[in-house]
């Protein structure tokens, strides 16, 4: 806990630098990552991240040590080179994009590892920290490194804000963008360059192996929270920043630990929280949704059963026992009881202690049950009449559709069928208001709505 306060109180200027650098990096990779994910270029991002390793090594050899500017230059050149290679292979051969991506990733990375080993076995005086480029080491950044890498991130953030409108169109509808004369090729190139740049900016803090995850995971997690591109960018940036901060904190408290994996693990935590708990799209809320639906279907079926007893013997006041009801549904006693107590609370049924103990529909309950039976039979009629489905095949479909038919759809059904008296099985269709039947069926077709 002490370490936590010491770190986030930002008293140590070195910590301020490192934290500032990783947070900027997280924001920038969240922004670029959003477009990368939306344009389905996530794998390309991964390939580019791996492919910059030989560039980093060459930069190291040229500088004779760790010089951030030369490292960035080398990484940038190789990132670009890998993209051009992937594009060239896909365009000019029968090899599919995924294959060319995989090839470029492994070949470039392999070359990088070869160079890395050569440097390590040679007589370079200062080769400390070269390993860091594989898995990242945020804490080893000094002021100058932060200025270079943080500056890159800042440049990327500003660029995305500037070309937001153009990036939005080419990501959503490329043909339209072309048709209004946008310089699509140049915009796509700009987007690709920004992606290479952000990957380059991450070599020190995250490392080449895992940089792609910083691009992809915050954006993928953010998609669970919003349907608007501007908010998506904002949330992805925040998630990126959180991951960046968490990574650098761990790098600070445990200097032997590489930063990249920790950043990715933090990002993954954010993703899992989103995946399970985001309202609306998260797994939990979807599960609740479907539980709610199946509970509604069951209780509607129970209401219908009560009504069908009445229909059979015409005795609305008669009390129906639990065992009678149990025969109509495939439900456990416990579930049935919970449904009945729900219906009672909603005042859809009366419960009589007996003897014989049992249940009777209330006025409202009967109305609702009638509605269900009505839409069931109307739907059967519709299937039979408009889709020419034989009457012995319509029941099962209506059994599930009755729970989905809204008031509006019922109105349309009645309009196009003309409120018929009987369903295809010659059962009476129960209306609340027999007087207001619509006799004229031809003038009231669906289209006029």
């Amino acid at each position: 806990m002490d370490a936590f306060w010491e770190f986030f109180s930002l008293r140590d200027p070195n910590i301020r630098y490192v934290l500032g650098g990783t947070v900027l990096l997280g924001i920038a990779s969240g922004l670029i990552g959003t477009f990368t994910v939306l344009r389905r270029r996530a794998l390309v991002g991964d390939a580019v991240a791996h492919a910059i390793l030989p560039g980093v090594c060459l930069g190291f050899i040229l500088a004779g040590g760790k010089d951030p500017l030369l490292l960035v230059a080398g990484a940038f050149v190789f990132g670009l080179l890998s993209m051009i290679t992937m594009d060239f292979i896909t365009r000019n051969s029968i090899i599919s994009p995924d294959t060319s991506i995989a090839m470029v990733l492994s070949v470039f990375f392999g070359l990088g590892v070869v160079l890395l080993t050569m440097i390590q076995s040679s007589s370079f005086t200062d080769q400390s920290g070269l390993d860091d480029f594989l898995f990242g080491q945020a804490a080893s950044m000094v002021g100058y490194d932060v200025k270079v890498f943080g500056g890159l991130s800042l440049f990327i953030i500003l660029s995305v804000i500037l070309v937001y409108k153009e990036f939005k169109v080419i990501s959503f509808d490329l043909t339209y963008a072309k048709s209004i004369g946008y310089p699509v090729k140049r915009l796509e190139l700009a987007m690709a360059l920004l992606m290479v740049l952000i990957i380059t900016a991450g070599i020190q803090a995250v490392g080449v192996v895992l940089m792609a995850s910083m691009l992809i995971i915050p954006a993928a997690a953010a998609r669970y929270w919003t349907d608007s591109l501007s908010y998506l960018l904002l949330i992805a940036a925040v998630f990126g920043a959180i991951s960046g901060a968490a990574g650098s904190f761990i790098s600070y408290t445990a200097p032997a630990m590489p930063t990249g994996p920790w950043m990715v693990v933090s990002a993954a935590c954010v993703f899992f929280v989103s995946f399970f708990f985001a309202p609306g799209r998260g797994e939990l809320s979807r599960m609740l949704e479907s539980k709610k639906l199946s509970f509604r279907i069951r209780r509607e079926n129970v209401l219908k059963s009560l009504y069908s007893f009445e229909e059979k013997d015409g005795k609305a006041e008669r009390v129906r026992t639990l065992s009678e009801l149990m025969k109509t549904q495939r439900l456990s006693k416990l579930k049935m009881k919970s449904i009945l107590s729900y219906l009672k609370n909603k005042e859809l049924i009366h419960v009589y202690p007996g003897p014989p103990s049992g249940f009777v529909l209330t006025e409202n309950g009967r109305k609702e049950a009638k509605r269900l039976v009505r839409v069931h039979r109307l739907w059967e009629k519709y299937l039979n009449e408009y889709l020419q489905i034989p009457e012995d095949h319509v029941h099962d479909d209506a059994e599930s559709m009755e729970h989905l038919i809204t008031e509006d759809i019922e109105k349309e059904l009645r309009a196009s069928l003309g409120s018929p008296d009987k369903d295809p099985h010659q059962s009476q269709i129960p209306y609340d208001d027999p007087a207001s039947k619509q006799p004229d069926r031809s003038s009231n077709r669906r289209n006029t709505k």
């Binding site: 939306l38 409108k165 048709s179 349907d227 289209n447």
Partner: protein, 263 residues
Amino acid sequence: MNEKSPHMPPLEVHDLTVAYNQKPVLWNIDFEIPEGSLTAVVGPNGAGKSTLIKAIMGLIPSSSGYALFYGKPLGKRRSSVAYVPQRESVDWNFPVNVFDVVLMGRYPHLKLFQRPRPVDKEIAMNALKEVGMQEYSDRQISRLSGGQQQRVFLARALAQDASVYLMDEPFAGVDAATERVIFNKLKELQEQQKTILVVHHDLQNIKAYFDHVMMLNLRLTAFGPTQSTFTDDNLQKTYGGRLNILSQIVERSRQERFVREKE
């Protein structure tokens, strides 16, 4: 719209040939569309209907020939031409709402990096009203029916405020209500002397909806007023099988990766 010369046709296409790497090919297409006409482009599957308007819009390269709008190439007439792509061409799960998409119709009137102005938002909202979709402006586009999605595309084109409209299958997979909305809108545009070219697949309503018809099957088989052009004879020519030798040479040029010399 701005400086159109009165004698120039809104769209003329000269000897357009498209040798597309894989799919259909167009052969020496040559026509001139009269101002204020509503034209249906019809033909069998793979006849090159979409290819034609894509080539006119410069979205795919053509091996020879050219298209002019009011006597000038498209590059000089961007703001007076609106193109409506096929609905399937975009990812409807993309995180934008209806209004955002329609607002994109104003982008050709904005400079690079310029943000939409209040007046653009007003125009976009009006376009949305015109297709009866104003209540849906905040709705995410994936939660629309196929017909509503098509209306959103039409609204975007309306917001472009163009004088020539090229539409790729705007009636594909739409409900009856949407079909009526779109068709009424096209009629209205026509009354404002706009010129409209529509790739269409339903031969049933050609006579009721369109005053001109263009019949296509790798080559232009017929073009003119619907009354005199949409005849059994021309339908037979268009739909009665491919010209055998022409399809053979098309197939060969594809296999040989043949590229015509550019003049």
